[in-house]
Amino acid sequence: MDPLLAFGFWAFVLTFAGIYAIFVLGLQVEVGDTGLINFGHVAFMAIGAYTLGLGLTNGWPMWLAIPAAILAAAAAGLLLGIPTLRLRADYFAITTIAAGEILRITIQNEQGTTGGTQGLRGASGPWREFNNDVLDTFQGWGIDLDRRVPLLVIVWVTALLVGLLLVYLGRTPWRRALRAVRENEEAAAASGIPVLSYKLQSLALGSAIAGLAGVFYILFSTTLFPENFEPIFTFVGFAILILGGIGSYFGVVLGSIVISFIVSGTRFLDFPLDADKVAALRFVAIGLLIMGLMAFRPQGIFGKKEELHLDA
């Protein structure tokens, strides 16, 4: 096998994995820490991606467009949360799917602004310049880098930083309050915790992190289509959460790599089936994985087994 092709394959899979890792770290804050089942998480990634895309095509510099994208995603999270977080968990979950789909369809229909199904192009100019600058710098030092390396490294460094940030927050009274909200809202309220406020904070933070994933998504894919942001993206995120173990940040990283391989890596391998069937089989594989985990290892790779048997 051509060595360059092999590297290209892994660069693709691992960059995709890194983006998913960031995406799911945000989901972990909402689901793992606070118990919010957010099936519309992809919407906030879409907001991050499209905000950056639109910002760049309108001439904004990167250092402005990127924070704007993250803030837009966080604001959207708050906007969603204010009316919906009073709903019971299952109703909240349903509402979040609807919210995600509403956003996606709006993006699709606003062809004039977002390019709709034709895709949003032209956002990658500034990034390509930056990428070339980095490659040139390394070339100046005598190191020949593959052009895909800078993004790969930046994505994973960011994923690591976000993970470390969350681990740090994990030891704070703030996180204790979030977990109390997850465990028993009434007990938390009786202890003086403003439950709704903490749910909103969790949603805002999770959405901001999803927005960050969206930033990398558009840099990675160069063209954005609304179909990229269908609910299945979030469901795959949940598969990663379950695989890695709900509550484990390191599990998210490992789960992302495994799932990313299944979802995107298999695109490059040769199967004796046509492309449509392979695409469908991919999701069958993920479904089987989830079922298998539930049956044999429900706590995932890094989850705590004892926690499974503790009732309220």
């Binding site: 704070t172 009274p173 204790r176 007990a187 309220a189 009786a190 403003p194 904070q201 503790l310 309220a312």
Partner: protein, 252 residues
């Protein structure tokens, strides 16, 4: 702290109930099952929305206020069917309730580490002391879900006291707790009352405890308050005897 006055109207479970709780008293709320005692607690502390009436605490109008705000004002309740944070440790359950935790805010948690670390140590020590007072300090590091029913009652008591309350509403605090420990806890509560002016309103079914230790008794039946007063007064009130204290079977 001024008298607490509660008046509800229009709610089936609690129909027009009115009572005051004197500051610094140990007041018992008694009544047959289904009398509305727990519902009254829920209404008072904001867990259920009353249809009508008024609630004043320490001069504040707390009618329909959010439960966490009522708790922070100093009126804290425990639950009849315990609600513990199962997948958190026992000590975390208690530490959660401490007032004045800078680290509970996201900005402080992120950027002002020194501020909250010191307070966290204090909170930890205080939590351990409380756990020792109620007798479950050896379980501090265990998941709260592993505690027995009686131990969960004790955990709820520790959690409530951690908030530095002015008034505690204890819903059957000794249910499932062994009598010796129960007596010790009662003494502990009385000490807190004497030293800190803690006001206690508790629901209790054991008449010996109620008659022996309360300053005041409020009797509820079928959603209404049917009597109140000192143990002697209540004990001999015919309405109470009828409804609750075991009316003699009608003489043949």
């Amino acid at each position: 702290m001024r008298d607490l006055r509660v008046r509800f109207g229009g709610l089936q479970a609690v129909a027009g109930a009115t009572f005051d709780v004197r500051e610094g008293s140990l007041t018992a709320l008694i009544g047959p099952n289904g009398a509305g005692k727990t519902t009254a607690f829920n209404l008072l502390t904001g867990f259920i929305r009353a249809d009508g009436g008024a609630v004043t605490f320490d001069g504040h109008d707390i009618f329909r206020m959010r439960p966490d705000r009522i708790s922070r004002l100093g009126m804290v309740r425990t639950f009849q069917l315990t609600r513990v944070l199962s997948k958190m440790t026992v000590i975390d359950n208690v530490m959660l309730a401490a007032p004045d935790q800078p680290g509970i805010r996201l900005d402080n948690a992120l950027f002002r580490r020194r501020a909250w670390r010191a307070r966290e140590r204090e909170v930890h020590d205080e939590a351990m002391t409380l756990l020792a007072e109620v007798g479950i300090e050896t379980h501090a590091g265990a998941y709260a879900a592993t505690l027995s029913g009686g131990q969960r009652k004790l955990l709820e008591l520790a959690r409530a006291l951690m908030t530095h309350p002015r008034l505690v509403l204890l819903d059957e605090p000794m249910a499932g707790v062994n009598p010796t420990l129960g007596r010790r806890l009662l003494e502990y509560l009385q000490r807190l009352r004497a030293e800190r002016g803690l006001t206690i309103l508790f629901v209790e079914h054991d008449m010996d405890t109620v008659m022996g230790s309360s300053d005041d008794i409020i009797v509820m039946a079928e959603g209404a308050v049917i009597s109140r007063g000192t143990p002697d007064h209540v004990r001999s009130d015919p309405k109470v005897i009828d409804a609750y204290l075991g009316a003699e079977p009608a003489a043949a």
